[in-house]
Amino acid sequence: MTSTPLTSAKTPPGTDAPRGRLRLDGVRKILGGKEVVSAVDLETEPGEFLTLLGPSGCGKTTTLNMIAGHLTADGGLIEVDGRDITTVAPHRRSMGMVFQSYALFPHMTVAENVAFGLRMRKVAATRRGKQVAEVLELVGLDGMSERHPRQLSGGQQQRAALARALVIQPDLLLLDEPFSNLDAQLRVRLRDEVSALQRRIGTTAILVTHDQEEALAVSDRIAVMADGVIHQLDRPQEVYLRPATDFVAQFIGEVNALDGTAAGGGTCEVAGRKVSATPVGQAPAEGAAVRVYVRPEVVRVGSGDQGEGLHGTVRDTRFLGSRIRCVVSTPAGEVTAALPFDARVPAAGEEVTCSWRPSDASLAAR
């Protein structure tokens, strides 16, 4: 399987220049008088899986459509492998796109759907047939080639759409909320499959989703978007543990946001106590108003007052199945901790100290 032409074609012998480097430079889009994408910059590594994550209306789909060419940027530059494609028509780009609705052609069989892109590229019939068969095997749809889309299940349609996008060996694989029409179980399975497949083939992939768990699970890097701008572009762990802005912190999972003043050297003062966290970007100047973001999972709850960390009283503990949720009242406000199963569970009313490793929390100017 690993030696299918589809895989090897990505790196032809003799040329080790990897393909699929996408660069957006100050890309803007105005729709209906409103700037829905404002000055988006990003650059992918070849073979990278990059996700545009954000709520609906944040400009992520618009950005993807500009990369695909279905929308033309009102400003800025879009480059693939150094080639400016900002104003190139979509049919002259080489983008394999999977739509939320899959957009399979209902009047064609699976094989005809997959062959469509090859036909447009004037690939000879025999080679076309071979490539279609290969890619259908790759996505696990062998034996389904003569079916029509309506005869397939949601998951199978999704695979067919993926096969159709991959068979043209695109510069980029563009995925527009491809899993959102599937039920929860299938969604997780297909998302892991797609991610594994992408890694094997090595095509650069851009995923658009509003599902933070999905983004965390499949991405090499995540660009968190809101109101047309990228708030943070980093690895999933970074984005999760060290959110750069309020929006990122609140949008992904649950967070403790603590206000304080910068004290230099990655520390700050929160309600009169010294607290450590990692500054995101430039370290704020001493005395500047800052906010510390701490995920409940990284908060440790120790008994008594341990000097450093936030001292407080346990207000509530609750068994949640996979975790134990513990809410501590501190002078800086309530701090929520999600304690692991084997942790000692403090009782309500107990005096405790909440602490965390400095690398597990972020510090940003307020």
């Binding site: 060419g69 028509a89 049919h91 957009a103």
Partner: protein, 294 residues
């Protein structure tokens, strides 16, 4: 009514299914009764009459007379030709219009749809006389041609006049089903095709056009059958020189008073039109269009 009661009772058994089906039948009943009384029954009378002589004896003579007379065969052919050309005309004028409507806002669509339906709001006779003025020897069309220093051709009382008048009336019957069909096409299909390398025209030929086939088929069937049996517009705009089947049914029934022969002509038209439409839809269904009729 008993059936309705049982469904309301909610018995989830085979009996419930049967009574649900009976309820469905009740809903269709008024339409079925009207259809049976006003269409099927008269059709039988028509067929029965067509096999009689004027005195009431059984005969095949009416059909022999029709099929044996080259003049009538010519009339039949001309009727199908005019109906076919009207259908083609409606398709050629209506398809781009339906495509244009697809991308418009609901407000623009409503106004344009009203415009499209406006010919149907005017009496057929008045509308036809309107065309008589427009296409007449002193009408605007002739004036424009004269202004260019040319002699205007005969615009009235020929197939062309009938064609223009019929396309005007029938356009809505083509555009409305087409709009419905185009609206049902997933709007991401064309972007998907473009992304796979298909330029605009290819997207149209390979995606939009085949997927709008149901609308084209429905529109064509309505326009063809209505045109083949239309009487007023062809009579006014075509006059006696344009020989169409409905006109001869009319003259046989009212002038010659040969009702059985009029019935035979009418029935031939029904059979030929129905046969053509069935063949046409079979042809489309058997072709690549299979999925289209989902």
């Amino acid at each position: 009514m008993a059936a309705v009661g049982r469904v309301a009772g909610g018995a989830v058994t085979a009996g419930a299914g049967r009574s649900a089906r009976r309820t469905g039948l009740l809903l269709a009943l008024p339409a079925l009764v009207i259809f049976a009384l006003l269409f099927v029954a008269p059709l039988f009378t028509l067929v029965a009459n067509s096999f009689r002589t004027q005195t009431g004896a059984f005969t095949l003579g009416n059909y022999a007379r029709f099929l044996g007379d080259p003049f009538y065969r010519d009339v039949l052919w001309n009727t199908l030709k005019v109906a076919g050309l009207t259908t083609l005309g409606c398709l050629l004028v209506g398809y781009p219009f339906a495509l244009y409507l697809r991308g418009r806002s609901p407000r623009v669509r409503n106004w344009l749809a009203l415009l499209l339906l406006s010919p149907l709001l005017i009496s057929m006779v008045i509308r036809a006389y309107g065309w008589l003025v427009v296409l007449g020897p002193n009408g605007p069309v002739a004036s424009v041609i004269k202004w260019f220093g040319l002699t205007p051709p005969q615009l009235l009382y020929n197939d062309t006049a009938v064609l223009i008048g019929m396309v005007h009336v029938m356009l809505a019957y083509m555009v409305l089903p087409l709009m419905g069909s185009l609206d049902r096409i997933d709007p991401t299909l064309v972007p998907a095709a473009k992304g796979l390398g298909a330029p605009g025209w290819t997207c149209f030929w390979r995606i939009t056009l085949p997927l709008s086939a149901p609308g084209m088929l429905a529109g064509a069937m309505i326009v063809f059958s209505l045109t083949a049996s239309s009487f007023v517009t062809p009579a006014i705009l075509g006059g006696p020189k344009v020989k169409l089947m409905p006109y001869f049914v009319y003259t046989q029934a009212t002038t010659t008073l040969d009702w059985p022969y009029a019935a035979a002509i009418g029935f031939v038209l029904v059979v030929v039109t129905t046969g053509l439409l069935l063949g046409y839809s079979r042809l489309l269904r058997r072709g690549k269009g299979e999925v289209v009729f989902q």
